[in-house]
Symmetry: C2
Amino acid sequence: MSLQQLSSQKVFGGHQVRYQHESAVLNCTMQFAVYLPPQVELGQPLPVLYWLSGLTCTDENFMQKAGALKVAAELGLVIVAPDTSPRGAGVPDDPEGAWDFGLGAGFYVNATQAPWAEHYQMYDYVTAELPALIEKNLPVSDKRSISGHSMGGHGALIAALREPERYQSVSAFAPICQPTQCPWGEKALSNYLGSLRETWVEWDASALMAQATQHRPMLIDQGDADNFLVEQLKPAALEDAAARAQYPLTLRMQPGYDHSYYFIASFIDEHLRFHAQALSAAQ
Amino acid sequence: MSLQQLSSQKVFGGHQVRYQHESAVLNCTMQFAVYLPPQVELGQPLPVLYWLSGLTCTDENFMQKAGALKVAAELGLVIVAPDTSPRGAGVPDDPEGAWDFGLGAGFYVNATQAPWAEHYQMYDYVTAELPALIEKNLPVSDKRSISGHSMGGHGALIAALREPERYQSVSAFAPICQPTQCPWGEKALSNYLGSLRETWVEWDASALMAQATQHRPMLIDQGDADNFLVEQLKPAALEDAAARAQYPLTLRMQPGYDHSYYFIASFIDEHLRFHAQALSAAQ
C-alpha cells in the first residue's frame, strides 16, 4: 500500500495534505486529508485524531470549515479526515440518489448484503486499514483518538465502544446515538445489513454502551436547536445506557446551537484539548 | 430600505445571520452575511469590519472558511461579508461564463459602460449603500474598518485610499495591488470602464497610493507560494508607491503560503486584532 500526494497547503505553520490510495478493504481508490502540524519537523512521532464526517461530506469539509487547525498546530496533533463512503464508478449508490444512503453515507459499518458488501466496509477502513497505512507512511505514533459529527459522531462512538484498545479518547458533535431506532439509521442498516434487526445492534452506540466494560474518556456536544435532535440523534438513549453501565460520559447540551459546522467550530478547540490530554497521558 | 432575514446560526455565542435586501445602487436583490458577536446583547453599538471576498466567492465563503469568528466574538467585532457582484436573472455575465469577470467578479468598481453600468456599481454598494443600511438596521456604530482577499483585497485597499475618512484601518490578504497592469484587472477594467486607461487609475491601489496624503493603518499579508503572485498581484508596485508617498504600510511576505483560505485562516486573527485596536482608538 502506498500513498500518492494530491496537494499540500501550508496552514498555521503546518500542512494540510490530501492523499489518494488504493483501498483493499473498500475495493476502490480513496482520498483522505491529513493535517500535519509544524511539530512534525521535530522528528518525534505525533498522536493522531481521526475525524469522521457526516452525511454528504468528503475528506475536505472538516479541514475547510471546522476552524480546528490553529489549536491542532498549537497542540502538535495530527488530524486525519477520511471520506464518508467508498467512491468511484463501480461503487453502487442509493437507487434514487438520496443523500442519506450510499455515496457519502457509508455509516461506518461493514455491509453484509449485496450489492453493498463488495465496497461498503467503512468500519474496517477507518478503524484498521487507514490507521495502518498512516502509521506506516506518516510521522505518527500509534496513539489515536477519534471524533466525528452526526453520522461521523455515530462512527466515532461505535469505534471506541467496540474497540476501546485502539483509542485513548472519543468525542462527538451531534452524533446519531441510536441508529437502530431512527429513520437515517434504519434505512442504512436495513440496506447494508439486511432486515434482521439482531445484526444491527453491534453498530448501535446506545446498545454497545449498555455492554461496555472498558471505559475511555468520552465527550459529546449537542445543540438544542438542532433540527435533527428528536427524530434522528436521540442522545438521551446513550445517556441512559451510560448511566446503567456506569460509563463516564460527559454530554453537554449547548443552548441555541444547530447541526452545522458553525456549531462544530464553536466547540472544536475544547474537543482537541480533551483529546490531547488523553493522548499525552498515554505517551 | 429594509432587511429580510434569511437565516441565523449561533456560533461562538453570537450569530451568523444572512440577510436579503433590495439594492437601489445595484438595481437588484442582494444577500449579505453578518456576524453579530455576543456583545450585541450589552446594548452598546459595535464597530464593523467589512470583508470583501475574492473572485467566484459569495457572502458565505468567509464566514465558513476563514476561522475568524472566535476572535471576532472575543473582540466584540461585527463582521459584514457582502457578495462579490450584483446578482439575479437580469444581471449580465461574462459572455463566455468565465469566472474572472461578471457574476462573482464585480471588482468593486463603478462601471460606466453598457451593459455593465446598469448593475455593476459595487464600489458605491460596499462603501456607501450597504454601510448605511447596516448602520440603520443593526446594532452597530459608524466606526468601520475594511479587509479582503485577492480581488477583495484590491477592493479594501482602494476603498481606504479613496475615502480614508470612512475607515479606521485597512488590511488585505494577497490583494491585486495594480489592476491596471495585470490580466485580471485589465479584463475587468476595460469592460467595466472602457478602453481609456486614464479612467482606470482611480481604481488602482498602487496609483492611488502614490497620491495618498491621509494615512490609515494598513496591513497586508502575501504568501510567497501564491501561484498568482507574479502575474496578478504585484505587491512590489504598492510597496514602491507607499515608499514614495511615505505611507506607513506593513507588508509581510509569508513563506510557503498559497492563495487559499488556509492562508487567510492562518493570519486572520492578527488582522482582526489589528483592526480592533484601530477601531477602539477611534471610539
